[in-house]
């Protein structure tokens, strides 16, 4: 504990398996709890990461488990940045994909990007058809000391 003032950087690459959504979530949560942030912020970051990684698996790789998902995260002076990247099919119309209730799959609510946008300060999506998608999530972590350190 006590790494509050130190900058931190992590990088991980994993197969596009549904089980790895939890892995990415736990990884990022473990990074975030190193900063004295709120439980609310932690929960919000977990949802945003879950959405981005799920999108890479379901949409980017169309549930094909042989793909690789790359996740990078850094905290610099309390500013969190997470980059989730896949080499999947890409998004044809990013604006449309980010619209609430738009989903190319039945049984999905099209809320992925809505949650990312409402839970992070900034969301950037770069995508190229046939090349892949890169999602950049940014959030200033509140450092008010009110957060109990949560074991993950």
């Amino acid at each position: 504990m006590g790494t509050n003032n130190r900058d931190n950087y992590i990088k991980l690459e994993f197969s596009s398996l549904p089980e790895n959504v939890a892995l990415a979530r736990v990884l990022i949560a473990s990074l975030v709890v190193q900063v004295d942030t709120t439980i609310n912020d932690l929960e919000e970051v977990k949802v945003a990461v879950s959405e981005a990684v799920s999108n890479a698996i379901i949409h980017g790789y169309q549930n094909e488990p042989s793909g690789m998902v790359n996740i990078k995260a850094k905290i610099i002076a309390g500013q969190l940045e997470i980059v989730i990247e896949d080499s999947g099919i890409g998004i044809e119309d990013i604006e449309k994909a980010m619209t609430p209730t738009f989903s190319t799959h039945p049984d999905r609510m099209g809320l992925g990007f809505v949650f990312m946008k409402s839970f992070m300060d900034n969301v950037e999506v770069l995508s190229e058809i046939g090349k892949g998608t890169k999602v950049i999530l940014q959030k200033k972590l509140i450092n008010d000391g009110s957060c109990a350190r949560v074991a993950t």
């Binding site: 959504v21 939890a22 929960e43 977990k46 999905r108 949650f115």
Partner: protein, 113 residues
């Protein structure tokens, strides 16, 4: 983990863990297999041991709601923790599916089955 019980025309589904892509699939497959074979009047989703939910979980809940509704049945959600409740609220699911969170109401409902 998905645990199911059928009692008096009610299908009670208890989920535990994180309701993401993985558990959403188990939940969907388990419920659909039962309901498509035997339509029931009531689907009760016990989420008291769910610690996390994302849009994959919400999609699975909405899909089961649509299915039981098509079959003329009803659905309710029991025991959502605050963090889960917040996501259910933000998604708009609370407007269409009743959520019972207090122990007292849940016990009353359980006994009424």
């Amino acid at each position: 983990m998905v645990i199911v019980k059928i009692k008096n025309e009610s299908l009670i589904v208890k989920l535990s863990g994180d309701l993401d892509l993985v558990l959403a699939k188990d939940f969907r497959d388990t419920v659909d297999k039962i309901l498509l074979d035997r339509p029931l009047k009531n689907l009760i989703l016990d989420v008291s041991e769910v610690n996390f939910i994302d849009s994959s979980g919400l999609g699975a809940i909405l899909g089961r709601y649509k299915l039981i509704q098509q079959q003329g049945g009803k659905m309710s959600i029991w025991g959502a923790k605050p963090s889960v409740h917040r996501i259910l609220d933000l998604s708009g699911i609370l407007k269409i599916i009743p959520v019972f969170n207090t122990e007292k109401i849940i016990i009353e409902k359980r006994e009424a089955l």
